[in-house]
Symmetry: C2
Subunit: 391 residues, 2 copies
Amino acid sequence: MNNFSYYNKTRYVFGRGEYRNIGKLLRGSTDKVLLHYGGNSAKRSGLYDAVTSALREAGISFLELGGVKPNPSLDLVRKGIDLCRRENISYVLAVGGGSVIDSAKAIALGVVHEGDVWKLFTKEEELTHTPLPVATILTLPAAGSENSPNTVISDEATARKLGFGHEELRPTLSIVSPELFLTLPAEQMAYGACDMLCHIFERYFTNTQNTELTDALCEATMRTIMQQASILRHNPQNEEAWAQLALSGTIAHNNILGLGREQSWTCHALEHELSAVYDVPHGAGLAVIVPPYLEAVRHANPGIFQQWATNVMGVTPSRDSEHVIKEGIRRLRDWYRELGLPQTMAELGIPADADFDAMARGACSVRPGGVLPGVKVLTEADAAAVYRNCL
Amino acid sequence: MNNFSYYNKTRYVFGRGEYRNIGKLLRGSTDKVLLHYGGNSAKRSGLYDAVTSALREAGISFLELGGVKPNPSLDLVRKGIDLCRRENISYVLAVGGGSVIDSAKAIALGVVHEGDVWKLFTKEEELTHTPLPVATILTLPAAGSENSPNTVISDEATARKLGFGHEELRPTLSIVSPELFLTLPAEQMAYGACDMLCHIFERYFTNTQNTELTDALCEATMRTIMQQASILRHNPQNEEAWAQLALSGTIAHNNILGLGREQSWTCHALEHELSAVYDVPHGAGLAVIVPPYLEAVRHANPGIFQQWATNVMGVTPSRDSEHVIKEGIRRLRDWYRELGLPQTMAELGIPADADFDAMARGACSVRPGGVLPGVKVLTEADAAAVYRNCL
């Protein structure tokens, strides 16, 4: 296990009805927030009314900025930054899923950063100030942004999707109420579960040795995600299953599971290029990328793949590790299929003659040394081959 | 699962050599600390010199208060409070195990509390101020105090051992360097592992329903503790096993494993009476108390006990749940024995005619309704019967 430092400042409030306490929970921390959200679903569901009432009761005023889309855009982030600066707002409340929360985090960064916020993402500039505090009310369990120190933003002008991480970007407060998820479409649940699982893959498949505890915690959470998503596929109204899935999604990405492990993030890098160019849902892109990626790297460390196949995918242990691992990946594909997730580029609407070389170049360009890390390091050519194996 | 709120402010720094960074890590937060520790082992090992050098290099002055004993005493806590007040110290650095950290936390409470610090523990008074920040360098993985919001103190005058919890009592900074554990005596490792495991039992054996994720996380951590302690029993110089055990000890008690679960703490309440009267090591007392306790309550919720026996103790599942559970408890006793832990009151040096009724009364007295919670509520008479079943 590697040395590590862990700091997680989020007050994490979980349970039915807890979102109604947003006013009480913010009182004393701020008297004016930017209320950031996506489309009209929060208004239709009554969540918007409940939140704004709770704020008013607590004497907290707010300005609104809606319109966050999946793969949140730099343009809207810039609008939010301008609004906060103009109106002297120093607290951002995100009501939404990972896209809204990521957009809120980017605004929180941009307000305090004297340069161009996008240059933090391209690593041309460094953050020297503490970002504004962000509170969240989660409406879609998937990205784990409610308790992560990361944000991912898309610049539509250059078709680039980039991430930025800083420990002070973890939300100050996050509220997760599972009943808010009961009306989500089946594909959103599937995308979310797929994303959560991949957040663990990026940590679990590692060459770091002596990681018994986090191995076991990763395996426990992977099994739970798969079980609960399967339950929800058949019964989307099962609030207890939503509770388990949502908590799993937070644990999957708050880095408890990654303590002291060398991490990869290569599937995410590969997927972000797909989303940036073709605007596909992140979870759908991951379902297509992950199996060919695992096939491409598994020979570099059969031990961890065999352990995963037996402890997570339920494959009977055997000396034929090749068979065990292949069967594990086959079962993963089956689970994706059970959830209705796409399996090929064609199903994502991405043509066979897409410029995979350019995407591979894009994915590698922001990594140290221009290669993608993991149990096996991938060059641009390797990355392009993974894309083509998704056809 | 029940609603919950989780907030954990500790910066947790883990790995070989990290304790040498104590000065750098504290710089900017304080320029004067109370350096709190136990006996001379820190001086003999060179840890004391390394820590004081690091503090000096960082320009942080310190006053010392050593002498913390297992089952840390109220008297020394009072001395620490006086010292901090007199010398205007507002940061406590604990270098030691759970006893030293608990003592430091009690000092941190007492300095800001205007009344008598002990009355916070007896619940006669309430905390109205934020305790001083506490930093820790752990020398014995066991109590989990390095990341918990609790402290347990013994008043020798009244032979009472009581706990106090507050979210601001989590250390601000905790450093865990596994090489510091290589010289610990075998029985300290065993007491520690036993305590960690029991911290999970107190959360895991619950009547709360729909707890799939935390069930699985608890099981993963229990298995890891048992495996790593068995490795260390045979090879106490295995630094990687110490790393796994120490991280498990933190996770076992920082309440990630207890999220949304009704918790018990009855074994701890029963053991604290033993320690308070007979000054036995906490982990040794738990090894004696736990099996009869599990026997006393298991019929109230066979489902969770069967799950534990199969998922943690490796018992082959069968319809004969009575057999499965009994076999699980038998294996737990075997593991205690393998670690050299006591199994009876006699082995603890507690006579058969000890006043178990008074201890049962003591354990129940500080609980709501005067009974001990858990999968089965225990009255004073039930508690006395558990003690007598340890003979």
